[in-house]
Symmetry: C2
Amino acid sequence: MLHEDVVGRIRAILLDGEIPPGARIPERELCERLQISRTPLREALKVLAAEGLVQLLPHRGSRAAKLTDKDMRDLFEVCQGLEALAGELACERITDAEIDAIAAVHANMVRHYRERDLIQYYRGNRAIHEAIVAAAGNPVLAGLYTSVTARIRRARYVTPMTPERWAVAVQEHDAILNALQRRDGVGLAHILRAHLRHKREEVLQAGFAETERTDLVPRIA
Amino acid sequence: MLHEDVVGRIRAILLDGEIPPGARIPERELCERLQISRTPLREALKVLAAEGLVQLLPHRGSRAAKLTDKDMRDLFEVCQGLEALAGELACERITDAEIDAIAAVHANMVRHYRERDLIQYYRGNRAIHEAIVAAAGNPVLAGLYTSVTARIRRARYVTPMTPERWAVAVQEHDAILNALQRRDGVGLAHILRAHLRHKREEVLQAGFAETERTDLVPRIA
DNA sequence: ACCGACAATTTTGCATTCAAAAATGTAGAA
DNA sequence: TTCTACATTTTTGAATGCAAAATTGTCGGT
């Protein structure tokens, strides 16, 4: 197995929550499962630690990183900035065909909304955001976006929405598509930021952060 | 030596250009120099590869990454986005004391400009940009900024400037400080973007990219 | 002399091994 | 019984060893 594949496999395990945030990462088990020895596994863990998905504690092994409220806020904030930038660049560079493709995904997503199929709705939703970033034609930006969004993926695409919030989100997506079609970069950036700000507020309100707050858990006695 | 230190040492060696872009990274030599074995060295190289400073070629070792014109453009583009975001956030969160500190560095930098001391000018320049990012109070943003700017540091802070361009850059910095003092986030974001766009144009014009363009080098005969 | 095939050497990537550190378990004293 | 000191076990972090791959060097054919 290639180094990048090892990193990818472990990343997937972490993102799927198979090793939940805060849990210790069992080196020996993962070695058996991936059929590799500790050397390449540990190389991968250090890479993932640099990405922020793994927390390394010297002489105490590694844990799946846990996000505090502050982390979540910071990540969303950066994500807003990256998507806004992507939106502006995309409007300069996107082709008509790419816009049409996004419009199709959008229409499909709206259908899923009408059917109240949250899973499928989120799938389309994510595809649209990623397509906009891809259309920006900037691999550096795309790379940062991937690593930042990976860390908030679960919060962003799992949180249930109130009917009101969901309706607003769909409206925002109409506006996003509209700005794209008009190639209104500034407008698109604006909408994307608001869209993500709303999502962030929702996520934080839902208390989706992963802190255990052991300091608030009273000891027995 | 701690893992993070190993990464830092090698990063420094690469950023100093001691191993120039495109050159092979001599594993055995580095091991001796850092007094470590190949295992921790290779862990560090994988981390640096994930950062974009090192290029790994399967079964062919690692090289110091080389930036093409496109890479340079992309990195500057992202840097613009990050600094603009940092500027907006900084205006919301910066304290009066922090602004005063930046104003002091600014005054000093202007003095170095009058003395035509490019080295010292760049030092202050960089300190100001970093202080703005720090004032944004977002460690995630700061982290991305660090890794993106590391890759363009040499291009950004070594390129000589024409007297005209230098004068304009100083004016832009006046405007940056002014926007900060007025806590005009939108304005600051605007100026920072323009400032970096100009720098990027300058760098690209100077042909600072690190591509060898072997395809353009005519063979003998 | 020049090119290509084959052998020798080097380098890479990973498994294994080993010492040090941390975690765990145990026994004895209060 | 409960706490602490000590021994045992486990886990971590790094060095070494080994097989596979790539590079280099050599030789024979043209």
